[in-house]
């Protein structure tokens, strides 16, 4: 009867383990699988080790050729840099316009029916799963190489990101405000602009400035496949081994991306 609380006796040991024996086995198996995946990936890559060991030397060599940067070259990249910014800005606007119907169809509470919801999801996934560079290649064929192809590529590749995030914003709105607008006898379009839009406005501005910031980065590389902007200059200079010019371009891209990040952060702070 009193074996548990007998005075003077040592307390019963109460073993405690974070994981049961079964869980420990499962965790060990998971580790094994992870190691196997890494080993398999590394072997299939067929790494040529002499090149890897050679890398530090190559870096030093490249750095030697990139420094000092050829500063006067900067004057020649102002135009393509401005073009890059314009591709990003117009591409973002195009993406925003294309996203309006997609976002409305992708949100559970504004989509007309299940078919449109499904269609919007296909568009979102399609736009996001194809890389900007691939879109740029496609539109360079359609529109010919140049800024137009770049702008459309940026626009189309932004649709997934923009409409997905705005649709999420639409799904989070207060239904009471929408009820109130419905109760006045407003039409469907009026309910959207009066009941839904004001509630989603902070999300829209935040998402668009964020995407604009991303698009500046994207538009600086799509020139590599001929879609306009600074990327074309970068690719030309690399092909002609003008590494001191390449370093000027990289510094300029870095500065512009930093500036755009700062601008978009400041804009977002103002609206939310």
């Amino acid at each position: 009867m009193s074996t548990m609380i007998r005075e003077g006796a040592a307390p019963m040991p109460r073993p405690w383990h974070r994981y049961s024996a079964r869980e420990r086995l499962a965790r060990f198996a998971a580790w094994l699988v992870a190691v196997a995946v890494i080993a398999w990936s590394a072997t299939t890559l067929d790494i040529y080790w002499p090149f890897v060991l050679d890398a530090p030397e190559q870096v030093a060599d490249l750095a030697g050729r990139m420094v000092p940067p050829d500063w006067p070259f900067f004057l020649q990249i102002i135009d393509p840099m401005v073009e890059t910014l314009n591709i990003a800005t117009l591409g973002t606007i195009l993406g925003a316009v294309l996203s309006v119907p997609v976002a409305l169809m992708a949100a559970q509470n504004t989509t007309p029916n299940q078919t449109t919801l499904w269609l919007a999801r296909v568009i979102v996934v399609g736009s996001r799963s194809v890389n900007e560079l691939v879109w740029a290649l496609i539109f360079a064929v359609v529109f010919g190489p140049g800024a137009t192809a770049g702008m459309v590529a940026i626009g189309v590749s932004s649709v997934g990101f923009i409409s997905k995030l705005i649709a999420e914003g639409i799904e989070e709105i207060d239904d009471g405000q929408v009820d109130a607008i419905n109760a006045t006898g407003a039409g469907r379009g009026q309910v959207l602009i009066y009941g839904v839009l004001p509630q989603v406005m902070p999300t829209i501005i935040g998402v668009l400035t964020f995407r604009w910031d991303i698009n500046i980065r994207q538009s600086s590389i799509i020139g590599l496949v001929g879609a306009g902007g600074i990327g074309i200059t970068l690719s030309n200079q690399m092909d002609s081994f003008a590494w001191d010019n390449v370093s000027v371009i990289l510094i300029a891209i870095f500065a512009v991306v930093m500036a755009s990040e700062w601008v978009s952060a400041a804009l977002r702070r103002r609206v939310t």
Partner: protein
Amino acid sequence: MLEIDNLTKTYADGLQALRGCSLTVPGAEVVAVIGPSGAGKSTFIRCINRLVTPTGGSIRLDGTELTALGERGLRGVRRHIGMIFQEYNLIERLTVMENVLAGRLGAVSFMQALLRRFPQADVDRAFELLARVGLEGYENSRADALSGGQRQRVGIARALMQEPRLLLVDEPTSSLDPKVARSILALICELASELGIPALINIHDVGLALRFARRVIGLSAGEIVFDGAPAEVDEAALSRIYGADDWRDAFRQEGEEDRHVAGEGMAS
């Protein structure tokens, strides 16, 4: 004239919110609908402008059958039914003026609404109403900058902007403190009788209901169990509505700070 006949509502999850409610409001009359939480008050009032679609029965406003209306017809009828909500349901990020003018959405075009270019007559009337509800000079304030009582006044102005033939009022005072609650309710009743229109007011505060309404409807478990003048609301009536033990609690809420009874089970 509002005629409701054998109204029923069963929600998708099988909940029977209304089990055959009939009610006729012949003319300008403030009708308070009282009852415990979950009795179906909110469903009842929302069925009338079809924010909730009734399962059966008929609703006629000035002779027009509302339950059979298509989308266009429904919008036409909603234009003339003003609604005031417990949580005000103002568009929080818009100005007071934009919120009041929202009452005219049924009468203006999409572009007019988009560009906020409402007819001058509407703007004049909005200014008038703002003055009438005591919010002169607030037209450019954002709705989310106002206090609860002020927001509800904007809600009232928006409803009146519709030039309503019927006012539906869903727990107008539950989010307000007692003093403000009384003045808001007084304002609603005053304006309803000024305009000569019937008002249906859901209210769980029996004291306030008896003080302001000319007729009291008692809802219990989706059925109308009482219909009479405030003077006829006695112990027997209250225990019919709230159950034998609970009606005292319902009364005691008057004057208490927190008017929220457990969440409105059938609110939407």
